[in-house]
């Protein structure tokens, strides 16, 4: 129990710290692919996936950890991921993003987190369990891409790593724009940890390494999985209302650690402050949280569990989920960000001006 608490909190705190300092926001990343034609954060995610994939499959090869991909509940993955993608736009952050923004003092993220936990618990052990299970029962037998093609998983890892390298080289060759920064007020380690702007690709590399570390730490406590956010978030609520200690697992301490690590990072860099949202943002955060909980439970993972981990494990579930999360994000972004601007513009230019 003590080991679970310590290693879970430690791994989570590292992740929360790195994500807060690196502004590692997947929702913003997916959204900006569409509204700003900016793929940097998506590329950063691909780097984190590649690093983790190579690391985790090396550990599996060495017999240090175990992983079984199981079957592929394709309908639940597609529907759930799409709804999750819509939810994260309304919530203003994905599951992990919401946990770390809660650590920055954003009350809107606390509200989203509450909706997310409640809805996940309703899906996993509450009245919607039958719906969740019936959709998940529509399965394809093989989830592992390697197993269904009969090729070695290393073929796919190599191809993917090569694509990521190619993207990195291409990005490096682009003309550089100097991004204005604030005047540094600190020196040495304090500057590097609590002030300096982190390059998204550097942040992604560290996130990938933490994702590798999560596997052996988690499996040592009997939880045979890496990073995961949704089930542990639901577990917290289930534990709080039942008092059943068996519900507690490594993942619970991981997510609590993300909150803690982000708080430390934000506090240390003078970026922590309780911020109350206006009514509209508060309500949209709550609806977003509900959609996230519903979608992620159905899809068997959020943008971390599916988008970062199951993709690295080279499963159909991971890649199909990532695609539909992104499509969901774009759909919601169209209605929330793009349409209001287009509408306003056409109002301004389209209607003839009549002067009295």
């Amino acid at each position: 129990m003590l080991q679970m608490i310590l290693t879970g909190l430690l791994c989570g705190a590292l992740l929360g710290f790195v994500m807060q300092r690196g502004r590692f926001c997947l929702t913003g990343g997916f959204r900006d692919m569409y509204i700003a034609k900016d793929n940097r954060m998506f590329y950063a995610l691909l780097i984190a996936i590649a690093v983790q994939s190579i690391g985790v499959y090396s550990l599996i090869q060495l017999g240090m950890i175990e992983f079984s991909a199981g079957a592929f509940p394709w309908i639940a993955t597609i529907v759930g991921s799409f709804i999750f993608g819509i939810g994260i736009v309304f919530a203003g952050g994905c599951a992990t993003g919401t946990w770390y923004r809660a650590g920055e003092g954003l009350i809107g993220s606390w509200i989203a987190l509450f909706g997310y936990m409640v809805m996940s618990a309703i899906m996993k052990s509450g009245p919607l369990t039958p719906l969740d299970q019936s959709l998940q029962s529509v399965q394809l037998p093989k989830n592992s891409i390697a197993e269904s093609t009969g090729l070695s998983v290393w073929v796919f890892i190599s191809i993917f790593a090569a694509i990521v390298l190619w993207i990195l080289i291409k990005e490096q060759r682009k003309p550089k724009v100097v991004i204005p920064t604030m005047k540094p007020k600190r020196k040495g380690l304090a500057h590097l940890l609590f002030e300096k702007r982190w390059h998204p690709f550097f942040t992604a590399l560290i996130v990938g390494l933490i994702a590798i570390l999560a596997w052996p730490l988690s499996e040592a406590t009997g939880r045979m999985y890496g990073l995961g956010i949704t089930t542990p978030s639901a577990n917290i609520l289930q534990y709080l209302v039942t008092g059943d200690q068996k519900i507690l697992n490594w993942g619970v301490f991981l997510v609590l650690g993300i909150f803690l690590g982000s708080f430390i990072a934000a506090k240390g860099s003078r970026e922590f402050r309780f911020r109350m949202p206006d009514t509209k943002t508060g309500i949209s955060s709550f609806i977003g949280g509900i959609l996230m909980g519903f979608g992620a439970s159905l899809a068997g993972g959020c943008s971390i569990g599916n988008g970062l981990v199951m993709t690295a494990m080279m499963t159909w579930q991971g890649w199909v989920s990532l695609l539909f999360i992104i499509l969901g994000t774009w759909t919601a972004s169209y209605f929330v960000f793009v349409r209001p601007i287009v509408k306003k513009k056409s109002l301004n230019s389209g209607t003839p001006i009549t002067t009295a």
């Binding site: 807060q20 502004r23 926001c25 913003g28 959204r31 900006d32 509204i35 203003g92 920055e104 003092g105 954003l106 809107g108 724009v177 100097v178 991004i179 204005p180 920064t181 604030m182 005047k183 702007r197 934000a266 003078r270 970026e271 922590f272 402050r273 911020r275 109350m276 949202p277 206006d278 943002t281 960000f337 601007i341």
Partner: protein, 74 residues
Amino acid sequence: MQQTLEVMGQVCPFPLIEAKKVIEELKSGDELVIQFDCTQATESIPRWAAESGHTVTNFEQLSEAAWTITVKKK
């Protein structure tokens, strides 16, 4: 001329969306002062300014989780 955009309390990406909207109405050489408290905007606003060719004449942290940035329109 200098204009101030107060977007404290707004979450990303709204501070940037508002900034883009307001700067369209300014003349070249005018300055836009943006006051915001969304952490992610410390990355997205200066990046947008640099990539669209505007000049950042001031960028500093005011207090706990509060920033100001001045963008001079190109």
